[in-house]
């Protein structure tokens, strides 16, 4: 593989990590959805480049699923939900951005420290991808932990799933059946979450998940 090829792979996978940080930083609903769409585009680009490099045509289908479902369908649907819930003007309460960012960088460092020694036998391509994928997954978890709004938690969950697909595509791709079923299960999870969002709002008049804690008597 020529240096330029691996540079492009590095660029695409690295931009996913960067976009995960942007997701952490963004506190407005529509901007958050746009960044999430870009996250999915970066994933699609990264997977398509892997498909091209590994001469693995089925990975192109993975890229297409990422592009259509996660880049277009889910952001558009989420946008509709946000408008119907009437929360498109609200600014999500982010638990102070500065420490969150530092914590996120620490997580990226952790995933690199963990991944690079474990995968020493693999090629450069796979190692890099796995390290970045683990960071994207951890950043998705971090986002779910730090956000209080249910919709941003959903986006954290979806970005986490993007990280999983990135890891799978790096490791010589996963079987198409698995890929498609994962894609659909995410879509179904999304539908279930969407229904739950409305149920939560109906019950508590808000999608701020702290209301749930109070109802359980935790705070």
């Amino acid at each position: 593989m020529s240096p330029l090829d691996s540079d492009i792979a590095h660029l695409l996978a690295g931009s996913m990590v960067l976009l995960s940080f942007l997701l952490l930083y963004q506190d407005r609903m529509f901007a958050l959805l746009n960044v999430f769409a870009f996250h999915a585009f970066a994933l699609a680009g990264s997977v398509a480049w892997q498909a091209f490099e590994q001469r693995a045509p089925h990975l192109f289908i993975t890229a297409l699923i990422a592009l259509l479902f996660k880049g277009v369908v889910i952001p558009v649907a989420l946008r509709r939900i946000v408008v119907r819930l009437g929360i498109h003007r609200t600014i999500d309460t982010v638990v102070s951005i500065g420490p969150t960012m530092l914590f996120g960088i620490a997580l990226v460092g952790l995933s690199i420290v963990v991944m690079l020694p474990v995968t020493q036998a693999e090629g450069a391509f796979v190692r890099e991808d796995l390290a970045f994928a683990l960071s994207v997954v951890l950043l998705g978890f971090l986002m779910m932990v730090t956000r209080r709004n249910a919709v941003s938690q959903v986006i954290g969950f979806m970005s986490l799933e993007n990280g999983l697909v990135l890891a799978a595509s790096g490791a010589r791709g996963m079987p198409l059946v698995v890929e498609i079923s994962v894609g659909f299960s995410v879509l179904i999870a999304f539908i279930v979450i969407g229904i739950f969002l409305f149920r939560i709002r109906e019950r508590f008049d808000t999608v701020d998940l702290q209301a749930l804690d109070m109802s359980r008597g935790e705070s």
């Binding site: 330029l4 960067l18 940080f21 500065g98």
Partner: protein
């Protein structure tokens, strides 16, 4: 090091000072035109400086010697830092004795002196400006250093000449760390030069001002020197970005007259382009609240850190 190298170094040092007011004049003119105003002539900063030098310097009664000495020290450190950046020719003698970290340290010294001078007279405005400047600096300086480390990791050297030679060579490719370092450097230079999202260089009485608040007590030749230092600093940052990320056309020391002329022309074009982009960005964006600025500079720090980490991954895994 031959005689001619030193001559070129001297010429570069003089040019940096001589062209700095022109650069700020040009940016002001472009900004005015973008706002559909006529705007002052591009030579106006020179006239302002001349006028200020001729005027009497009014110094507060309780000002100490530091208040009088600070403008000259700030000007000197900024000028030396600017002379270290390769502008139209690289590989010059001064550049060989000092690297990027020295430039950052010199700028830090200037900032420290300016903050002290702002505090010296004891007015509330000066103190306010100084405390804000220090708050921003605590994020901007590490961000700048992280960008510097990223570039040095690429080039294997902290010398600006070697970095720009590396960027010209075949080793530099499409790399996300480079892009992140560039964005971090741009954010830092916007913050450091008190440009619009962070501070407004055009106003003198606004509660959110930072740089202007620190120099509010100065007048006459002291103010002239400080204004010149600010102009030189803008030129320094733009030249730094141009020298690292668009090294094309820069002459190598001892290359002959024609190469130097090409270098000069290329430098002028790069500066004009960067200045235009800066002003375009300024007119497109509104000024931030002061308490948003640490977040803005925090992004630069985060990008710098991320650039280093990503670069580390690609270096280790290969």
């Amino acid at each position: 090091m031959s005689y001619s190298d030193w001559l070129i170094q001297l010429a570069q040092t003089a040019l940096v000072l001589g062209l700095a007011p022109l650069l700020s004049g040009v940016t002001r003119k472009i900004r005015a035109r973008l706002l559909r105003r006529q705007g002052p002539s591009i030579l106006q900063p020179y006239r302002d400086l001349l006028k200020l030098i001729r005027k009497e310097a009014v110094v507060a009664e309780n000002a100490s010697w530091l208040f009088r000495a600070a403008p000259y020290l700030i000007f000197a450190t900024t000028w030396v830092a600017a002379a270290l950046v390769p502008t139209f020719a690289s590989g010059l003698p001064l550049g060989a004795v000092a690297d990027l970290i020295v430039i950052v340290a010199l700028l830090g010294t200037a900032r420290f002196l300016l903050a002290l001078a702002g505090l010296d007279v004891g007015t509330s405005f000066g103190g306010l400006g100084s405390s804000r400047e220090m708050l921003f600096a605590s994020l901007a300086e590490p961000a700048m250093l992280m960008a510097v480390f990223t570039l040095s990791l690429f080039a294997g050297s902290t010398q600006l000449s070697s970095i720009s030679a590396y960027m010209l060579g075949p080793g530099a490719g499409v790399d996300i760390s480079l892009a992140l370092a560039l964005v971090a450097l741009i954010i830092v230079s916007i913050g450091e030069n008190a440009r619009i999202p962070v501070d407004n260089p055009a106003t003198h009485l606004e509660l959110t001002m930072v740089h202007e608040a620190m120099i509010l007590e100065y007048s006459g030749r002291h103010l002239a020197v400080l204004e010149a230092a600010a102009a030189v600093k803008l030129l320094l940052y733009l030249s730094l970005i141009a020298c690292v990320f668009t090294p094309w056309g820069t002459a190598i020391a001892g290359a002959g007259v024609l190469a130097y002329l090409i270098g000069l022309l290329a430098w002028a074009i790069k500066l004009a382009l960067l200045g235009f982009l800066l002003v375009l960005f300024e007119t497109a964006i509104a000024k931030m609240r002061v308490f948003r600025v640490p977040e803005f500079l925090g992004i630069a720090l985060m990008l710098g850190l991320l650039a280093t980490i990503l670069l580390f991954v690609s270096k280790v895994s290969r």
